[in-house]
Symmetry: C2
Amino acid sequence: MPYRAPIGDYQFLFDHVVDFAQVAATERFAEATPDMTFAILTEAAKMCEEVLAPLQRAGDQQGAVLEGGVVRTTPGFAQGYRAIAAGGWIGISAPQEHGGMGLPLALATAVGEMMGSACLSLQLCPLLSQGQIEALDHHASPEIKALYLPRLISGDWIGTMNLTEPQAGSDVGALRTTATSNGDGTYAVTGQKIFISWGDADFAENVCHLVLARLPDGAPGTKGISLFLVPRNLPDENGAPGARNSLRVVSLEHKMGLHGSPTAVMEYDGATGWLVGAPHKGMAAMFTMMNNARLGVGVQGVSAAEGAFQQALAYAQERRQGRTPLGEGAIIDHADVRRMLATMRAETFAARAIALSCAVSADMQHATGDEAWAARAAFLTPIAKAYGTDTGVNVASLGIQVHGGMGFIEETGAAQYLRDVRVTAIYEGTNGIQAMDLVARKMMDGGEAAWRLLEEIEQTAESARTGLPHLAEPVWNAAESLREATEFLLTQEMNDRFAGAVPFLAAWARVLGAHFHLKAALAGGSVRARLAEVFITRLLPDYTAHLAHARTGAAGLYALSAEDLAG
Amino acid sequence: MPYRAPIGDYQFLFDHVVDFAQVAATERFAEATPDMTFAILTEAAKMCEEVLAPLQRAGDQQGAVLEGGVVRTTPGFAQGYRAIAAGGWIGISAPQEHGGMGLPLALATAVGEMMGSACLSLQLCPLLSQGQIEALDHHASPEIKALYLPRLISGDWIGTMNLTEPQAGSDVGALRTTATSNGDGTYAVTGQKIFISWGDADFAENVCHLVLARLPDGAPGTKGISLFLVPRNLPDENGAPGARNSLRVVSLEHKMGLHGSPTAVMEYDGATGWLVGAPHKGMAAMFTMMNNARLGVGVQGVSAAEGAFQQALAYAQERRQGRTPLGEGAIIDHADVRRMLATMRAETFAARAIALSCAVSADMQHATGDEAWAARAAFLTPIAKAYGTDTGVNVASLGIQVHGGMGFIEETGAAQYLRDVRVTAIYEGTNGIQAMDLVARKMMDGGEAAWRLLEEIEQTAESARTGLPHLAEPVWNAAESLREATEFLLTQEMNDRFAGAVPFLAAWARVLGAHFHLKAALAGGSVRARLAEVFITRLLPDYTAHLAHARTGAAGLYALSAEDLAG
């Protein structure tokens, strides 16, 4: 069941749905011509299909292990990683002055999706380096940039993010890791961090940890946190990895999935680190980086959805059971199987469109500095993250269902997609946190980004009214209901918003998905219109239930105590 | 995180929601007095909490293995199984003349749920024996009954169901296993069967396989299938297990979960078997048994949901992250966490009520012979199966989410619930098959059972109109919409019904769940009313989307070819 990168979908989305041309029309991204874009997608696809996809199963069956303090990665991962690095894919959107390609995030997003479909546990490694590259590029000193960025971009060194501690998960502000000045411009970092993805790897010449810690004069909570760069090996005067730093991998977690990605407990024992950004401003630095990392994780959901869909489709075209309404065909000709496959495809397309649209907004923000683009990127990020990963989970579960009993057998590979992707709804901020971010921080300005998006959706519906009235009408109605619900939510107390945040975000995803499907139908001919019809007639109606739920408020929940719930 | 059996919920449901008193009022089940019921539930709860629950994790970590042709079960499972057998729980609803307790299926359902919460992979073993006991009781000769039933009921012997073959999964009629007469009243059974749960166990004195096979003069398809009883050891003249039969476990599957339950590939090589029921009537015999087995699997979903809920609730009461709206409390005081927990509890209650109501209907059918009860039991069975198992999957996934990052770590135990329960949406007829059963076979009579249920729902809404108008109104409206949609579906071609069968079943589950919650609210005071409010205001609204989807028909799906879907 070989993976085939959906290049046609990316190009169609770029050309007709997310208006990639406006990105390529900016001075900053002038290199991203259609020819260049096609070449990039084709080249990345080739590597994903030929080099990475064959590693997917091994990553599950022979996960990373800790041996003598070193993380031994899955056989083949070193070669796979080197192919990613050699292709320049780690630095695809990194600054050219440090060796990156400087291409749009939208393109990096498509490439990231492909790599994730091919081998999700390995793809997480460059995804983390990309986050670190962005953080250093924005916040580090020129010296640190000059030393670290070329090595991270080339892939010789890898990067990690160290936020979580046992008592500080979603509440980062509760962290206890400390940093004290060594008096020579460096700091001694001490503490334990958990859930550190790719905390070490035998194929990495060096591992650079971005660690959140508190300086002695740091206030309690998130306001007193600073960010430090703590390399596994201290660079010598030539920038080569030198003496071991005082840090170690204590253990690796046994996880439900993503076994190929080592999840480390890290111990820092006076490890030497360098401050990144201003003292006590670590959270701000983290947040810059986190928005794109969140998009990246949302894309991991799309990756798993696409992989699961391709495998289920192939199985359904081959497996024969019973007489179908179309005769002696395969199970794809049974209505319920086709419903599942069409749902998988329509959801995956919607999640991909939302992710790419978010990336385009970020690209326009970076290219133009326009605040409206920044607001849109910020608004779409939690939706892309939560809906992308929920779609990964739901589509992977449907993929198991399409396989019937074979779906539960590990050799089939369908179950791995679900086991691997499940964590994406949790890490980089749980999907509940994403939804709370949407209804709080992302609407602090009164919802400017929401109103602009709703206007666009209504314009799309308006322009489809003549040609595709049966699709235009429900999208228009949904946008109106969503506008009313958004207005209503803004009048509510924050905790009432929080109580309905998850269904509210889900409603936004439904309406945005319908919008992008409708744009596709307008531009793309009959097949796109029929896929849009699946989404708009069968899936979009969920928004009414989500909005009813979103409006319900918190009181009813708090009326039930823990004892009441226990029954 | 010790499991506590929800005895209070069962008793409340019996007394106020599913009218168990009418069962106890029949002559057949006169023994099921309130005292007897309480004693049974208490005794079973004690065993589940103390003996079975401690085996749950071991069943995952040290799954069954095949060694020298024998299935070695998880350490401790033999003792756990003997406790189940010694308590008489295998024969709780089996005929008294053969050593069973002869109690109502509703009571057996509650006990089965408890056992499944405590240790799902072990509980599957007696569940299969119960199915076999029922099949033999209805269809076997007096000699076979006398020989096998006491030994199955005592638990000395265990029973399995052998339907599936590599080319015959959902399409049982495609099976190739053959049976030829040995001329002495026995048959020689030859063929390969797959996905045979508990195909062997080192703790079983004998394993009795019910095998579907085709006689030489059997027609192709399901009409030419016969049912055979094929024991692992041939009983000697004293009924003791004698010579090995010509059958063997070829291999065990590597599964996503339920590792403690051995899933065998079985090979029959001229194995000696006895015909059960009439020649070529094997499917009819299987169907008798399958309805209750389907309910039993639906209950497995409730089991997992309850277990996952209890664990998540305990974690949320203990884990502290951030300041909550109620102050420095645990994460249960965050609105989104409470939303998840309230959803888990409300869904689990609804699924339990539907399962128990289905069981009560079957009990009334058996006690009174009334066709209306039979029709209701038949109608509720696919709903109990599909919604019960979907609830298991969804609630277990929410349980992971409540745990945050810890939910992805296997030691936590939250992930096991999801991995274990996932197969219940597939085996014993996929949930898609259940939904097709609902819209086809279960409405062949024009939907009598549906109309009677809708009348009851409307009566409940009517009687709640004064005291609980905010809950009565939405339930009434939902019942009206469901009636219209059901009427509409009955006018549709079968494949159009099939295309919307899954969302149609989901809508029925939503409305039935709301109905039972409303009954609970009417009878049970303020806590029950608040839980009902969670279900009715937050979850019930899904029915509108489900019904819109259910009405969409098949054409739009078949307008997309496999190539269109591939994109």
